[in-house]
Symmetry: C2
Subunit: 360 residues, 2 copies
C-alpha cells in the first residue's frame, strides 16, 4: 500500500518510520527542497496548490493523509475527487479554523473559554468589553507554536491589535486561569472503533511545547475521552486526533484540536504498545487499531533549535533519541527524546538529566 | 553522519529504520534493482566488486558496514583504504569461512563439534573415517539458511558428495546430539565496551530459522558470554555479532558466528531497551552503547515465502509486524512478527496464534 502525505516534515518522517514495517511506501508532497521526510519516500516537490502534482500524487497512491492542518481547502477538495482522503475535508475545514473549532465544541456541550469572532478592530473592542481582559487574540487560521496570537492584558494592548495581526479574521478568547495543560491523543478507525492514549501533561514555553509526560490513571481521563469521542463521532473522523485541554477548577476546558499525529503523542513511539504514528496509519488504511496501553512510564522532551550532541543523548539510560535531520534554526523543532522508565521517580530523574543537556 | 551499507536487504532496511532517528543517512550498495532497503536511503546499484561504485560510496559516507558476511575480501580491502570499515576485514575473513571460524573457536578453547578441512573426495573419505557418521558437509563459504550443506548418514551419502557440493573447499563437521539451539547477540563498541542480549532459543525448519524466543535467566548465559567475549576481544570486534551454539549435555558447543545483525536478534526492536540495529550503529559510529535489557517477554516468528494478510497480523494483540517489502518467493524471508508480552504464558499463547496464521 502506498500512502500520500501532504507535508514532508518530522511528522511525515515518523509516519514513514512507523509504516514501512507494515509494508507501506510513502510519497510526500512538500515544496521544501530539504523536507526531512524525503529520505524515507518519494518527494514530490511542489506547492500545495499545484494541481499537476496533486493529480500525480493521487494517481500514485492508495490514499492521502496530512501532517498539518493548514492545507488549503481547495487542495483537499481536489484530491478527494480522485483518491480517498483521511481525515476528511470536513474535519480539516473545522480544525483549520479556530472559530469553527470553538463553535463545534460549544455545539457539542464541551466547555471552552468564552470566544468571539473578530473581523475588525470594532469587533475586537466590542468583544473585549463583553469578555473582559486578560484575553488572547488569535488568527483564525495558520497559527502554530504560539505564532499568530497576542495576549491582551490592558486597553493599550487592545488598541490597533487587529491590524497588528494582519487584519485577518481572528478569534478573541477569554483567558482561563488554568492549573495545567493536558492533551488526549485518540484514534478512530474507518469502522468507528475508537481508542485513547493516556492523558498527557504538557509544558509550554513561549508557545512551544517543551515537555509531555504521560499520566498515570489521571482522574480526568474518562471526562476527556467523553469530550473527544463527541468530536470524533460528529466528524465521522478517521485517523489520529489530538485534543488539547486546559485544566480548570478540577475540570477541562477545550483549547484546540489537531487533526493529525501530534507532538504531545511522540512519546508513544517507545512508550505505548502501538505508537500514534502506526495507529494513524492503521486507521486510515482500514486495519485493526493497535493497543494504546503504556509500556513503562514515559515522557517526551522537545529539542528546539538544535539537537544536543548525539553522544550525550545516547549516553542517558532509558533515553531514545529522535533526530529529525533538520538544520539548526531558532525556535524550530529539530528533534525530541523519549524517556521510558520503570517508575515515575526514575522518570523524573531522567527528565532532569535531559533538561540539563538542553540547557547546557 | 552517513553510513554506507554493503547489501540492501532486510537487515539494511532495519538498520536504516533504527539509524534515521539518530540523525543518520544511509547509502546501500546492492546490485538488486528491488533491494528492499532502497526506499530508505540512496541505492548504489552495482556489483560488490565494482570499484567505481565502491569508491563513490567511500567518498560519500563516514563509515561502511555490512549486512552479510559473504562480501568479497577484495571489496573490504578496497574500501578500507578510503573509509573506516566495521567490522574489520579480519573479522569478516574469519566469519566468512567455516574453517577459519572453527579453528578460531578451537584456538580460544571454545568447545565446537569435531571438524576437518575437505579439499577433495579423498579428504572427505578420510575425515569420515576419523570423525564418524552422522556428519554434515558444508561449503566453507557462501552457505546460509541451510544452503550449501548436506547431512551424511550412511557411506552412500558420502560417495561423490564433494562433487555434489561443487568441488569447492568444504568443512566436515561431526554431528552433535544437541537438545537445543541458542544464540547470543552481542555488541562491542570502538572502545571495547561489550554488552550481551539474553540468550535466545531458536527453532529451525529445513535449515531456516522459524522461531526465536528470548530466554528468562538462562543458566548458560554466563558461559555463552564468556565464549563470545573471547572471540570479540581476539578480533578487536566493533559492532553486533551473533554467535550460534548447540546445547549439548548441559553445556554449549559453538556452531557459527555472524559478523552482523542477525535474524535471531530481530525481537530486540520491540523486546529490548535498545535494538540490535541501533546498537550496531551506535557501536560503529563510536556512540555509547544502549541497554540490552528486555522489555517484557518476547519472541520472533519469521514469515517465509509470503507475509500473512496484514489485517490479520495486526489484529493480534502484542504483535508487531515487520514487512520487508519483498515479492513472494518460496523459502525467502519476507517479514517477521515480534511478540512482546507481559509474561511467558501469554507469550506462548500468542506464538500459537501467529503460527496458526502462518500455517493457514
Amino acid at each position: 500500500m502506498k500512502i500520500g502525505v501532504i507535508g514532508g516534515g518530522q511528522l511525515g518522517r515518523m509516519l514513514a518510520l512507523a509504516g514501512t514495517p507494515l509494508g507501506m511506501n510513502f510519497a510526500f508532497l512538500d515544496p521544501a527542497p530539504d523536507a526531512c521526510a524525503a529520505p524515507l519516500g518519494e518527494h514530490l516537490r511542489a506547492d500545495y496548490g499545484d494541481q499537476d502534482h496533486l493529480r500525480q500524487l493521487a494517481d500514485e497512491v492508495d490514499l492521502v493523509t496530512f501532517e498539518f492542518e493548514s492545507v488549503p481547502a481547495e487542495t483537499v477538495a481536489f484530491l478527494s475527487q480522485f483518491v480517498p482522503v483521511y481525515p476528511s475535508a470536513e474535519a480539516l475545514r473545522i480544525a483549520r479554523d479556530r472559530l469553527f473549532e470553538k463553535s463545534l465544541f460549544r455545539d457539542l456541550g464541551i466547555p471552552t473559554p468564552a470566544f468571539a469572532d473578530i473581523l475588525s478592530q470594532a469587533d475586537l473592542d466590542a468583544a473585549v468589553a463583553s469578555i473582559g481582559l486578560p484575553a488572547v487574540l488569535k488568527t483564525r487560521t495558520l497559527g502554530y507554536d504560539g505564532k499568530g496570537q497576542k495576549v491582551l492584558r490592558t486597553a493599550q494592548d487592545v488598541a490597533g491589535t487587529f491590524a497588528e495581526l494582519g487584519s485577518v479574521p481572528c478569534l478573541l478568547e477569554g483567558f482561563v486561569p488554568f492549573t495545567g495543560e493536558v492533551s488526549l491523543v485518540a484514534v478512530r478507525g474507518r469502522d468507528g472503533e475508537t481508542r485513547f492514549y493516556p492523558l498527557v501533561h504538557n509544558t509550554h514555553d513561549s508557545g512551544i511545547l517543551r515537555l509531555s509526560v504521560a499520566s498515570v490513571a489521571h482522574p480526568l481521563q474518562a471526562l476527556a475521552e467523553d469530550y473527544v469521542a463527541r468530536v470524533l463521532e460528529k466528524l465521522d473522523y478517521v485517523g489520529v486526533m489530538a485534543f488539547e485541554f486546559f485544566e480548570v477548577d478540577g475540570g477541562l476546558k477545550a483549547n484546540e484540536i489537531a487533526p493529525r499525529v501530534h507532538n504531545s503523542g511522540h512519546w508513544t513511539i517507545e512508550g505505548a504498545e502501538c505508537s500514534q504514528f502506526e495507529n494513524h496509519l492503521r486507521a486510515v488504511a482500514g486495519l485493526p487499531l493497535g493497543s494504546t496501553a503504556k509500556v513503562g512510564e514515559s515522557a517526551m522532551l522537545n529539542f528546539i533549535g538544535e539537537v544536543p550532541a548525539v553522544g550525550k543523548v545516547t549516553a542517558i539510560d532509558d533515553c531514545h533519541l529522535h533526530h529529525y535531520g533538520k538544520a539548526f534554526k531558532v525556535g524550530r523543532k529539530v528533534g525530541h527524546a523519549t524517556l521510558r522508565c520503570k517508575d515515575m521517580a526514575t522518570l523524573q530523574a531522567k527528565i532532569a538529566e535531559v533538561e540539563q543537556l538542553i540547557g547546557g
